[in-house]
């Protein structure tokens, strides 16, 4: 069988290092040995495929999972899943999870003294459409304290997980909100050296996807590694 082209490697500085001491949890969990460069084989250019049979169509609306409406500011988060050539990544699974409006996760490990919302779980999933579009309705998550350092607060964020077409394109990231004063202080957001790469994790307020009388729109495009032109990696 002919070799298949692999996927591109990230440009320097555009991905976080494994060890980033300001993020204290990385200190005892980051590998100390250099990673072994592995040219992509069939095992890396393939990856799990999920179709509509896996997906709950209602899971893209996080405000409709309970009998009542969740508290907080209703928002629409939408965008496209694209590759590095700007091509849509169709029919790929996008998963999200987040804190509620008060900054509390519905998770046993979250002991922040803020109320849970009986009408908000804070998780969802969807498939991108044929043009790579995805769309969630949710509420804007609150900021919350964490114990990384004295008076540490995470900026408001939504966790985003995307598979893409291959094991090599798997991405888990976080989406932030424009103008958040906590962003310059956050060791997780700031772990990536390249400022432009960092800032692409900040969603854009978007009047075009704002629903009148209903919900503010935020746009967040998710870019996955692009395909090499030939099987022979540079």
């Amino acid at each position: 069988m002919a070799d298949l082209p692999g996927y591109r490697r990230p440009a320097p500085g555009t991905q976080p290092p494994h060890l980033h001491p300001p993020y204290v949890s990385s200190v005892k969990r980051a590998p100390s040995q250099p990673l072994i460069h592995l040219p992509h084989t069939l095992s890396e250019v393939t990856g799990p495929v999920f179709d509509a049979s896996v997906v709950d169509v209602k899971a893209c609306d996080l405000t409709r999972q309970h009998s009542g409406e969740p508290l907080g500011e209703r928002i629409v988060v939408s965008g496209r899943v694209l590759d590095e050539d700007g091509r849509p990544v169709p029919h790929t699974l996008v998963e999200v999870w987040q804190a509620n409006a008060a900054g509390r996760y519905r998770h046993k490990a979250d002991q922040h003294d803020a109320p849970l919302d009986p009408n908000f779980t804070g998780c969802g999933h969807t498939l991108s459409d044929a043009a790579g579009h995805y769309r969630f309705v949710t509420i804007r998550p609150g900021a919350y304290p964490w114990k990384n350092h004295y008076n540490a607060w995470r900026p408001a964020h939504i966790h985003v997980s995307v598979f893409g077409p291959a094991f090599a394109t798997r991405l888990v990231t976080q989406m932030y909100f424009p103008g958040d004063p906590l962003l310059p202080l956050d060791p997780i957001f700031n772990c990536t050296a390249d400022e432009q790469a960092r800032n692409r994790l900040i969603s854009l307020f978007d009047l075009a996807t704002t629903v009148p009388e209903q919900a503010l729109g935020y746009r967040f495009d998710i870019i996955l590694s692009g395909r090499l032109a030939t099987p022979w990696e540079k």
């Binding site: 069939l42 050539d85 888990v172």
Partner: protein, 195 residues
């Protein structure tokens, strides 16, 4: 055609400690139902930090071929059969002590870039609080003569290869033990495959 620099792959961020909330709906710890062909194996181990302490908030994702050596993916053009009920995907979280386990079938061999077959292996992504990017590693099988000629194992210093090879358990023949040491003595080999 010019490369638009705004279309660099998005920056990875940690899954954090609360990923169960969003990812548990797709946990799969038994990859192969009774109708799936192949040798049954169960793989169990611990995800350990630099101090050898179990990581209680870790997540493993598994990707593998079926027992014929065929991936359930449109780009696997090999003339081998897929099995409708075998996706080849698993996702398991670690317990309080860092322990994880999953059941599957031993994958068949798939082609490598050098034209030879790779030894049977499972690819694994490791996510956890503290990991700003996922870590990628592989599980190989004990007493497999093909390991000696495997492409990816061949890239690894021979003194570290053992970290990629599961061990037989004294408990029972179908159980294999394989742990992940994130840092320090016997640190697991991780591969750089990109993002």
């Amino acid at each position: 055609m010019g490369h638009n620099m705004s279309w660099q792959a998005s920056t990875s961020q940690t899954v954090g400690p609360f990923f169960h909330l969003g990812l548990a709906w797709l946990f799969v710890d038994d990859l192969a139902g009774p109708e799936v062909s192949g040798q049954r194996v169960e793989i169990a181990g611990k995800l350990l930090d630099a101090d050898g302490v179990g990581v209680p908030d870790g997540l493993l994702e598994i990707w593998q071929a079926n027992s014929h050596g065929k991936y359930a993916h449109p780009e696997d053009a090999q003339d081998k059969s897929t099995e409708p009920s075998f996706r080849g995907y698993g996702r398991v979280a670690t317990a309080e002590d860092g322990a994880f386990r999953f059941k599957t079938v031993k994958p068949g061999r798939v082609p490598g870039p050098d034209g030879k077959l790779q030894a049977a292996h499972i690819v694994v992504s490791v996510f956890a609080r503290g990991l700003l990017r996922r870590l990628v590693t592989r599980i190989y099988f004990p007493d497999d003569p093909a390991n000696a000629e495997d492409y990816a194992l061949g890239l690894v210093d021979s003194a570290r290869r053992h970290t990629l090879i599961a061990q037989k358990s004294a408990e029972r023949a179908s159980l294999l033990e394989w742990s992940i040491r994130l840092q320090g003595a016997n640190e697991t080999v991780f591969f750089d495959i990109g993002v």
